[in-house]
Symmetry: C2
Subunit: 330 residues, 2 copies
C-alpha cells in the first residue's frame, strides 16, 4: 500500500490538516513541527496523491491536446512545444490523435471532459463546430491551434495562410513563372482553403488567368501529390511551377518529377509550405514558407493557461508570421 497523508500524520503525531499545510506551504505551522513533518515525508518517501487533490480542488493540472496525427511531421514540434511549456508551468498533457475523424474528435472531447482536464488545445476538422459550441456553453477553456473551425468563440493560434500562400505565389511569379499549379491540402481544413485563396488572389493581382486544370485538390499527403503531379504532367500545357500546399506534398511532387526525368527547378519549379525538417534535406533543397511551429505550441499553452486562470479573460487570436525560405527548388 502506498503511503498517504494519514501515515505521515500518525508518524508525526499531528493531524492530517497540519501535514496538508506543510504540503502546500501554508503559514501557521510551527517551525519545529514543519521540520519534523518534512523529515518524515522525506524518510517515508511520501508522494501526495494528485487524484485525491484533484477531486477536492476541481483541478487536475492536466491539459488535453487533440491533433490529427503525431506522425505527420508537421506536428511533433508543436507537440514538443506544448509539452515543454506545459511542463514548465506545472501541467501535464494527454495526447489524442484523431486522423481528422469527426467521431474520434468527439470521443476525445468526451474523454477529456470525463477526465476533468483543465483545458484543451485542439486542431479539429471543419464540421465539428457543434462540439466547440457545447464546450463553450459549459465555459470550458479551449484554444484552437493551426486551424480554426469556429471563429470568435475560442481563440486561434495560427498563421495567416492566405497571406503566406500569396507571398509564395508572388515569389514564383517574380521568378518569371506564369503557369503555376497548386496542389491543395485537404479542403475540409481552413488552412487548405486559405492557402488556395492566397494562391488565387496572387494570380488575380498579377493578372494571370486561374486555370482549373492547374488546381488539384489533395489531402496534404505525399501520395496524393505524387499522383496529382502525374496528372499535371499529362496536360497539353503543363505548368512550369507548382506550389504544394505543404512540404510533404512537395516531396511527392519531387518523386513524380524525378521519375519523369525532369529537373528541379530547371524543368519545373516546386515550392512547399511549412518548412518541416525534411525541407532542407531534400535534393534540391526545398523553397518553402516557414511556420513558427514551436512558437505556436508555446503560445497555445500560454493562452490556454490564461483562460484557465481567469475565466473571462478576453483573448485575441494569435496570428504569427511566416517566412519565405529561399533554397534551391524554385
Amino acid at each position: 500500500m502506498r503511503v498517504t497523508i494519514k501515515d505521515i500524520a500518525k508518524e508525526a503525531d499531528v493531524s492530517i490538516t497540519t501535514v496538508s499545510r506543510v504540503l502546500n506551504n501554508k503559514p501557521d505551522v510551527g517551525d519545529d513541527t514543519r521540520a519534523k513533518i518534512l523529515k518524515i515525508i522525506e524518510e517515508m518517501n511520501y508522494n501526495p496523491n494528485s487524484v485525491a487533490r484533484g477531486l477536492v480542488m476541481q483541478k487536475t493540472h492536466t491539459i488535453g491536446l487533440i491533433i490529427p496525427d503525431i506522425s505527420n511531421p508537421f506536428f511533433p514540434q508543436i507537440v514538443r512545444a506544448v509539452e515543454d511549456k506545459a511542463q514548465q508551468l506545472g501541467y501535464s498533457v494527454i495526447l489524442f490523435n484523431t486522423d481528422n475523424h469527426l467521431e474520434r474528435e468527439r470521443k476525445a472531447v468526451e474523454l477529456f471532459k470525463s477526465k476533468q482536464i483543465d483545458g484543451l488545445i485542439v486542431s479539429l476538422s471543419l464540421g465539428n463546430e457543434e462540439i466547440l459550441k457545447n464546450l463553450k456553453a459549459s465555459n470550458y477553456p479551449v484554444v484552437q491551434i493551426d486551424r480554426s473551425v469556429l471563429d470568435h468563440i475560442y481563440p486561434l493560434v495560427s498563421i495567416d495562410n492566405i497571406k503566406s500562400a500569396y507571398q509564395m505565389v508572388e515569389y514564383l511569379i517574380k521568378k518569371g513563372h506564369k503557369k503555376i499549379a497548386h496542389l491543395s491540402g485537404d479542403l475540409n481544413t481552413t488552412t487548405a482553403r486559405d492557402r488556395l485563396s492566397g494562391y488565387k488572389k496572387a494570380l488575380k493581382d498579377y493578372k494571370i488567368e486561374i486555370k482549373k486544370d492547374y488546381i488539384i485538390e489533395g489531402d496534404y499527403t505525399q501520395d496524393s501529390a505524387y499522383k496529382a503531379t502525374q496528372n499535371l504532367l499529362g496536360l497539353k500545357s503543363p505548368p512550369t511551377a507548382v506550389f504544394a500546399a505543404n512540404d510533404l506534398s512537395a516531396a511527392g511532387v519531387y518523386k513524380a518529377l524525378f521519375e519523369a526525368d525532369l529537373k528541379i527547378p530547371a524543368d519545373m519549379a516546386v515550392a512547399g509550405h511549412d518548412d518541416i525538417n525534411l525541407a532542407s534535406l531534400l535534393k534540391p533543397e526545398l523553397t518553402t514558407m516557414r511556420q513558427p511551429k514551436y512558437e505556436m505550441g508555446e503560445r497555445a499553452v500560454s493562452v490556454l493557461l490564461k483562460m484557465i486562470d481567469d475565466e473571462d479573460a478576453e483573448i485575441e487570436d494569435q496570428i504569427l508570421n511566416t517566412d519565405l525560405i529561399i533554397r534551391e527548388s524554385v
Copy 2:
C-alpha cells in the same frame, strides 16, 4: 456546476447506488429503473467524473510515456502506436520529453507516481538504473522501449541492435567495401553501444582490421554526423563506406559529402539505421535497416497492460526483427 451522480439520482428519484449500478452495467437493477436512469443521464448530458472514480478504484486508466524527444523523427510513429493501442484499450497516455536528461527523467517518474498513473512506458538513459529499481520495489508496472537500462527487472520491447548493425556492415562488406567507418550514436544508450558492437563483430568475422580512426562517437544528430564526416574526409586514407548509427546521422553524412562534391555511392557509400520516413525521400534514397516502430509501440502497450492486469505475470523481452532495406546509397 457540472452534473454529478447525485443530480441524476435525485432526478430519477433513486439512490446514487442505483445510478452507479447502471453506470457500471451491473445486474440487479429493474429494467424500468435502468431505462429511466439511462434516459435522464442522456437528457442531462451526464458524464461520470473519472477523477472521483479513480480515487476509489485506485485506477486512472492512464499510462505515462517517457521518451527523449518527440521531435526526433524516430519517435512519432512509436508514440502514435502507443496512443492508438492505448486508446483502443481504454487508456489515455501522458507524454513526457526528457532529452535524455537524468534529472528530467526522475522528475517525470515522480510526477507520474503522484498522478497515480497505472503504468509506464519508458525510454531512459543509462545511469538511471536506480529509478527503475525503486519503481520495481513498489511493484510499479513498467516496460522499457527501444533501449534497456536494466535487464531482467522490467521487460524490454526492442530489436537486436547488435545483429541489425552486423547485418548492415556485412552487406557493406559483401558490396566490396573494406574501409568502413562507423558514426556511432550517443554511447550513453544501449542501442548505440550495441550497434557499435555489431559493427566491430562483422569486421572481425570478415577479418577486417578495426581502425580507431574509422569510429567516431556521435550523438544520433545530423549535425554531429556532418562534422564527423568532415573528419573522415580529412584522413590520409578515408573510408569508402560509412555506416551511420541512425538515418538522421546519415542525412548529416549526405550533407558533408555533397559539400565536398562527392557522389553517393560512387565515391562513398552510406548506410543508415531505422528507416524513418526521411530515408526514402533523400537523394539518393538511403539504404538502411528498418525498425518496426509502430509494432514496437503496440507491443509495449500490450505488455504493459498485461502487467497491469496481472501483477505477477512474468513477461519476457520482445525482440523484434529488423529488415535490410536496399535502396540507392550503397
